[in-house]
Symmetry: C2
Subunit: 690 residues, 2 copies
Amino acid sequence: MRFAAILFSLSFLMLSSHTGAQSAPSLNLMPQPASLAPGSGALRIDANFSVAFTGHSEPRLRHAADRFFAQLQQQTGLSRFAGKKDNSSATLIIHTDHASKDVQELGEDESYTLEVTSTGAKLNAANPLGVLHGLQTFLQLVEVTADGFAAPVVTVKDQPRFAWRGLLIDVGRHFIPADVLKRNLDGMEAVKMNVLHLHLSDNQGFRVESRKFPKLQEQGSEGFFYTQEELRDLIGYARDRGIRILPEFDMPGHSTSFFVGYPEIASGPGPYPLDRKWGVLDPAMNPTEEKTYKFLDDFIGEMAKLFPDQYFHIGGDEVNGKEWDANPKIQEYKKAHNLKSNEELQAYFSQRVQKIVTKHGKTAVGWDEIFVPGVPKDIMIHSWRGPQSLAAAAQLGYHGILSNGYYLDLGWTAARHYAVDPMSGAAATLTDEQKKLIFGGESAMWSEYVGPENIDSRIWPRNAAIAERLWSPQSVRDTGSMYARLDVESARLEWLGLTHRAYYRKMLQRIAGPATPEEFAALKTLADVAEPVKEYTREETAPFEATSLTPMNRIVDAVSLESDTARHFSELVDKFLAGSCHDAAAAAGLRSYLTRWSRNDVAFASLAQKSSLAKEGAATSRDLSAVGAAGLAAIDAIAAAKPLSPDQQSQMNAVLTEAAKPKVQLLLVPVASVQKLVGAASQAELCGPK
Amino acid sequence: MRFAAILFSLSFLMLSSHTGAQSAPSLNLMPQPASLAPGSGALRIDANFSVAFTGHSEPRLRHAADRFFAQLQQQTGLSRFAGKKDNSSATLIIHTDHASKDVQELGEDESYTLEVTSTGAKLNAANPLGVLHGLQTFLQLVEVTADGFAAPVVTVKDQPRFAWRGLLIDVGRHFIPADVLKRNLDGMEAVKMNVLHLHLSDNQGFRVESRKFPKLQEQGSEGFFYTQEELRDLIGYARDRGIRILPEFDMPGHSTSFFVGYPEIASGPGPYPLDRKWGVLDPAMNPTEEKTYKFLDDFIGEMAKLFPDQYFHIGGDEVNGKEWDANPKIQEYKKAHNLKSNEELQAYFSQRVQKIVTKHGKTAVGWDEIFVPGVPKDIMIHSWRGPQSLAAAAQLGYHGILSNGYYLDLGWTAARHYAVDPMSGAAATLTDEQKKLIFGGESAMWSEYVGPENIDSRIWPRNAAIAERLWSPQSVRDTGSMYARLDVESARLEWLGLTHRAYYRKMLQRIAGPATPEEFAALKTLADVAEPVKEYTREETAPFEATSLTPMNRIVDAVSLESDTARHFSELVDKFLAGSCHDAAAAAGLRSYLTRWSRNDVAFASLAQKSSLAKEGAATSRDLSAVGAAGLAAIDAIAAAKPLSPDQQSQMNAVLTEAAKPKVQLLLVPVASVQKLVGAASQAELCGPK
């Protein structure tokens, strides 16, 4: 079905190729639809706006209409609409052919067509999933114009490129309350993602109520878990939004939280307290004891009933084998069963668990490690290692999804995530049949350094770029267009209740305490251009070892993972240099930034005296002022057409090299752009007089 | 009891007068306590923090502790605390002597003492009301320091100056959902207000479920009303926070919403649709028919059971008498009963209704108009007219509260509200016995131009200044200290979930639509220094007539009622001029503002082309750029020690006079400050060279 839809889309694209998605960045759609034919004129959106439903009917469609109007009210500020109507005089007529599956399935038809004319609009879809997507597209079309709110005349024929478009949230390391998950489900609906993968257990916590094994939550969660009632509610909430919920219980490693209440299934002697530290730790299930499989059979049986989704994730990553090596009985077992390595021992475990999952009617999913030669074909590989392993699995006939390249906690830019494609690298060489085995991907929000207060800001807006990668045609890849639309989408997401922007001032206010307005402004100026260190370097650069109890109230917890200010500054530098340094407006803009930075440390240093939390930014603040001064000197040199002397250059480069080093886990992002300015100011030819 | 407490406080103040409230503005307490003796050192607040309760115990105290820890977590970002303990080793030991009344009463003891030492703290109160207040004071003491979070060593002995410290919210003109009321109750608790007055009916809507007269909500609310269940929940929520809920049903005027379902109690022939327009309208109850009083007896009987408070507000304001004049039977009745004017007719009505209220066990409250000679003494006068009428009533032995001077919708500055004292003006000349009749006051949020999205911003933070006026000693009146503390309190209030800051960017984003970052910044720069026109001039300056259906999505709905930016600019101008224009830092700060303003219209004008909502700011934006340019020219003249020529002066004054005129309901606030700069630049002596 997906393949047919793509064929249709391709032919439509050819008909309207000059008006295709890439050439119409002025429509702030995210993700970009598969195909789009703009017209002229617009449909006015005012209090008379109404919708009518025809065809298949179900409560989910009514809920969707309620949400649609609530969101339309947020977007427009109009207080009332004509609302739902039963007849064809409605502004937006929505036709649904038939029901979707009772339990949402991978690969169901999600396509829709949306035709907007200057007098009305029509949304048609095979089933409610397409309607949900089409309503989001319509909402994204509504914008303020010179003549009030309106949706432009356009015809959209749309369906996803990948059937699996997920977001993983790790609720094990830090518990994330259900209301936070709900607002993230709202965000996922807005960008047409369809799988919320919950990483429900890890060394630091077990987050689900088990009635068969109540010590799991009683002793393994410190009170932070979801009741079964809450999970059923959450699953219904997700289903209402066209989103599946994929449960993951990580095993045999990352599983200390099982052992607090049930040490008998562990490989070590116990007892096990919950882990506070991060990383790949020693505790692992005992794969050589039948009682382990008996436990898992009962446990998975219970969870398979609680979670209706066809897929069931059993983890399987990062077992260091230390507990196995230290247990003589396990060593004997390996010898007796001719298991030559811990990898083989884990493969044995995975296959046993996979059989249990199958017995309970589910399809097992596991991280790369579960893929070993001979494993049955009805598993799905979840690749954290990269496209190579995904492609290798596909070549052997295994299904897979990609998360490598989509780890939101690593602090990559949206552009960098956006460039990662499940079909790139080794996957590009697969046959068409093999390519069909790659279902899509999942962004992943690992939660060592996030809590309910800042998690939205770690997911959004960057996750919308990944959502576009997974929905839109592979040819949609213009980074400039992506960022322009991402800025708009970020504002829209805020109307859904996401706190990815609102958290920021609250956290800065806490850090600043009773600062003067000038001191607060200085903190914000610094925080606006700082980011946490990238990848897995946060531990190396930490002032103290973090655990699961460490408060997340520091500057590094507050600053954005991708600084908008630094991005705009960088764009301005590029514009200035591209104009051979003759763009007066760009020069004035740069001076404005640089002047503020150069003066900023006076007020910041004063604040750092008063607040232990602000103090962590002291060195970065001094760097920022130095960077601002260097940038101003570079601009001055360019304006005077007097290139920097070699002495000045080396002095400035030394300043910038120092400023480029992370301090207390903070990166000063504009350094690279100022290095460009200094470079230009050193070359009289590039930036000489007109 | 209040009087005794005040006497105690006075003696304590004398003992510690050098360390009294006014001399310690560095503690960010709001309201300032009655007395305060600072010590040295501080109590560290970390994860070991715990509380214990001794003495009287009740669920409300447990709820208060839960809220206390939630708020402490918000303020500090610490993830866990030791929590509640049962023994004396707790950090904060709270002792409650005895219960408060089952239904909270006016004048109950609200005093508490709070002693913080470097090793622990003790909070003592006669009853839970004092505990609630003391916990808020403790939270306000907790701040980030150079050495982590801490509360300073201090002894506070505190009680309110006035027993009635209210906030009126008009939910009749625009419905305000219960969750918005709840977050405002949280804000009221934080600043120790103790009465939420709900104006529950007006011409535009009736907001309470009546089971005896269901057509009230069915036909008079358009579906926007509170069920009795919701109200009971709200009353419990308020009681948990030491807050009474005072219901008001306005009659005989402001009552169209009664007549939609029950035209038989009106004075006109009907039928009555809900009113959409604002103002003093014609519909009024028929005071000459017994069926009116029968209706009100049944209705007030039902509502008196629903609302437990001793007081019951019957409105009574602004009857224009037109329906009475037009009804021959009413004219006959007046003649037959020797009622010489409509005022006398209304007095007759009020006294009948008051008897009904008394019959149902309540004390009637009414606006000024219900006070006429001969009315029984067991009523309370709510003064919207001013201190004179309040004092006049007190001289005759009537109780009263003041709202004149505290109308939040008029757009006064916090300083102006703060200067209004219930005991000033005519009240200052009352005898001590008469003064005791003045219970306090209420701020009033009339809702012609507020909805759920912006109401918090219209109430907060200015309401905190009024709360301080009603709680703190009359001698607490330093405006500079008030603003410094108000800025801090405003940030704290945000942690309670109030949206008085967060709403702003969302509304600007809607106005801006898909603007460029520069255009959005230009909108914000303009909005930061604009305010809605003041007092009741909004209609006169409107581009179209507003009704209850007009969307509140315009710039005038988004901008603050008191611009912080303009206040900071004004302070900077004063600082600059006070230093005879030699303060270089102030000059640089002024230039930074003025430069931005002078350049702002380029991007704004571009935005105004695209967005009909932004377009309303076009003229004000041009003014802002002109004002910025004038300010820069003034600073240049001062820097060059070349006074402005008479020609320059008159040209600039013409620009500023034009800019001072409101445009599309918007005031450009910094104009007056720039006029000061131009004035100074015109006088060589004031700002000559050093």
